[in-house]
Amino acid sequence: MKFFYNCVRSLFAIAENTIRDAVRQRFFSAVLILALLLVVSGLFFQEFDFGASELKFIADFGFGTVLFFGSILTIVATTQVYFGEFDSRAVMTVLAKPMHRSVFMAGKFLGMSLIVFHSHPTGCGETPFRAGLKKGGRRRIPTKESAV
């Protein structure tokens, strides 16, 4: 039981460390800020008429940005997650601690998964929120009735 408890503790410690290590990298912050700026900038492009409704444009623009930058983050942040550790030899000190290698691998995976899943809902949540604001605001989406 104690061994299982220690494994879980190590798993979360590694996951937490992975998140902290990733979010403090300048590239990560830069991509995240750029993505958020682009999502927000959808507001300024709403006057463009692409033959679709305003709400649809905001949703498409927001989700497209989230998908694009989410993919970049996923690829960049995860490709180096294991090899970076081996290259820098930081892994030696970690694996010399009382834990299985599988716990280390699982911890890194959990940390990276949380980063990726977190970055997506942040953007994904923000877009409907903004769309909701617009819907309740001054400019309403033209419905069939109002158009008539």
């Binding site: 061994f3 220690n6 503790r9 190590s10 410690a13 590694i14 460390n17 902290r20 290590d21 403090r24 990298q25 820098s88 030899r89 930081a90 030696m92 000190t93 970690v94 694996l95 010399a96 601690k97 009382p98 834990m99 299985h100």
Partner: protein, 306 residues
């Protein structure tokens, strides 16, 4: 020509060695490690039949030139790599079992840690991995960092640390869970004289607290100063093992220290030795040492004034 193990290993056993029933801190039996290189699968033997025993409360020095297999031995002992054959045990448990490393602290050669973490966060992270209880984490972290004298720089990111500071913070993470066995791989490489002195002081303090230290180093003068036992590796083979006191004794020569002797007396001694077919290697004045001179002068002044 194949040489037997007895040809290769010159074992110097301590004269006063006593059979002990204590479980060895580290025990290796016939460790062999072959690395397979390239597409042609060329085998390079990094370690050849290494059998070592490190008893508790010893400072054991693993010495040898580059490529002699020191770091490979440490990695096998820590369960980081698997031996081609042979076995290693830590406090009686197979080193491949994670629980065997519960009471082990390790400082790797040229340690590389997460540059985006601060010194405090890094030591705290390793304390968590070592199983330190949550309510003791901060206290243990502070104690370990203060022990290596880096409390002022604990809030700084590791990317901004100098090489010597990295070595010291590396030692802090190795000490944070109060291990019974400390394995240090070239701990004093790149450390200034003050840092080296601090390392030696910490190792001596650990020994006085009953801890065991396995030290892998090139710095022979420091090893001579702190090690109780040493083993010298070369080309993956153990060439010499034993207590420092016995190894430093030169059994091929003897020194006679005599009182004041004039040239005539010296010539007579030479003739006598020559008639006994004994070669006289050197005649000099043995150094007293600064401490002995200091004591002599102070005592002389005291007796004069009395």
């Amino acid at each position: 020509m194949k040489r037997s193990k007895s040809d290769l290993v010159d074992r110097v056993k301590p004269e006063d060695s006593v059979a002990t029933t204590l479980t060895p801190a580290i025990e290796t039996h016939g460790l062999r490690k072959d690395y397979v290189l390239g597409l042609r699968s060329v085998r390079v033997r990094a370690l050849d039949n290494l059998t070592l025993t490190v008893m508790p409360n010893q400072v054991f020095g693993l010495l040898g030139p580059n490529g002699s297999g020191k770091s490979t031995s440490l990695k096998i002992i820590l369960g980081l790599i698997h031996p081609t054959s042979g076995s290693a045990r830590i406090f009686g448990r197979p080193s491949t079992h994670p629980e065997a490393r519960r009471k082990v602290g390790f400082l790797p050669e040229s340690p590389s840690f997460y540059p985006f973490l601060t010194g405090w966060e890094m030591v705290r992270f390793f304390a968590r991995l070592s199983g330190v209880r949550s309510n003791e984490l901060d206290e243990r972290t502070e104690r370990a960092i203060s022990e290596v004298g880096l409390l002022d720089a604990a809030g700084r990111r590791l990317g901004l640390y100098s090489k010597g500071m990295l070595q010291r913070i590396g030692l802090a993470q190795a000490l944070v869970h109060d291990p019974d066995l400390l394995i240090l791989d070239e701990p004093m490489a790149g450390v200034d004289p003050f840092g080296t002195e601090a390392f030696i002081r910490i190792i001596q303090e650990l020994k006085s607290r009953g801890k065991t230290v396995l030290l892998c180093t090139h710095m022979l003068s420091q090893a001579e100063q702190i090690c109780d036992e040493i083993a010298i590796l070369h080309l993956g083979r153990l060439v010499l093992e034993g207590s420092m006191a016995n190894i430093l004794r030169n059994f091929d020569r003897r020194s006679l220290v005599v009182g004041s002797i004039n040239d005539k007396g010296l010539k007579a001694v030479r003739d006598l030795l020559s008639s006994l077919d004994v070669e006289l290697h050197s005649v000099d004045f043995p150094p007293l040492g600064l401490e002995a001179i200091f004591r002599r002068e102070v005592i002389k002044l005291d007796s004069d004034s009395a």
